[in-house]
């Protein structure tokens, strides 16, 4: 088992899930609870839930290759206005640019019908970043949503 050390400055909640599809819904439930307690509006909570689910699915599928011996770590760090979620896996990770899905190309069979997860993550949260594994640390996807955004 892995130890994930949350940043000491922010308050954080940590979840560890088995690498089995479906468990992303548990992370959604936890993230939703945290976001609601922080005062996020319902639509932002929905945005976060989808982003967290997609990041977990990628960690389960692409990072941990559905190996149930490996777990996916979800670290939720919060301060007064910001919720940061790191979804951590045991793979090499990636830092590639995310091309938005091109529905025309998909409809013409020129692009995989899949490949929308990373785009959705980026589109739904205020900040999204993919950090590849290094000697010191694991691969993770980091998302941030901010409370003030909803006041606009």
């Amino acid at each position: 088992m892995t130890v994930i050390t949350p940043p000491s400055t922010a308050t954080s909640v940590e979840v560890r899930l088995p690498s089995r599809l479906g468990f992303e819904k548990v992370a959604m439930g936890t993230a939703a609870s945290v976001a609601k307690l922080m005062g996020f509006a319902e639509d932002r909570v929905e945005d976060l839930k989808t982003a967290v689910a997609e990041a977990c699915i990628n960690a389960i599928e692409h990072g941990n290759h559905l190996n149930e011996k490996l777990s996916v770590g979800v670290v939720l760090s919060m301060d007064a206005n910001t919720l940061e979620v790191k979804v951590i896996d045991n793979g090499d990770g990636m830092s590639a640019q995310v091309a938005p899905p091109d529905i025309d190309r998909k409809m013409h069979g020129e692009e995989d019908p899949r490949g929308m997860g990373m785009f959705l993550i980026q589109a739904l949260v205020d900040e999204a970043e993919w950090v590849p594994a290094t000697i010191e640390g694991k691969s993770y996807c980091r998302l941030v949503i901010r409370l003030d955004k909803e006041l606009i």
Binding site: L21, E24, D43, I103, M107, R114, A123
Partner: protein, 122 residues
């Protein structure tokens, strides 16, 4: 133990507000990578020549992810080749937005309700 809720699909024949025959596929359970048979399979079993107006009902699906949405796109691809029209209803406001973000609304119409969908079919 599976943490995925099995997808089921029920096919229902109906008519639009103006009397055009239509086919409603009502999904329930998760719409995810596990739903290929229920989503794509159910659609593919419908004869393409008599089912021209297809309505996809997501009102009973609490959970939808990008792999599930990819199955909807696959339906849209086949439908486009066989001159069928795809209508979607029963999505939450959030998933209406998501469907728009990924471009689905360019090739299928997303409606607020079943009534709205049935009224929209000419």
């Amino acid at each position: 133990m599976s943490m995925q809720i099995e997808t089921t699909a029920k096919v229902e024949k109906g008519t639009s507000a103006s009397g055009t025959p239509l086919t409603v596929i009502r999904f329930s359970g998760d719409i995810s990578s596990n739903s290929k048979e229920a989503v794509l399979g159910t659609y593919q079993k419908l004869p393409k020549d008599v089912n021209k107006q297809i309505l996809l009902d997501f009102s009973k699906s609490e959970y939808l992810n990008s792999s599930g949405i990819a199955l909807v796109i696959q339906i849209m691809m086949e439908a486009s080749k066989s001159g069928q029209t795809i209508h979607v209803f029963g999505l939450t406001a959030h998933f209406q937005k998501v469907f728009k973000m990924v471009g689905i609304t360019k090739y299928a119409t997303v409606h607020e309700s079943e009534t709205a969908a049935k009224a929209a079919v000419a």
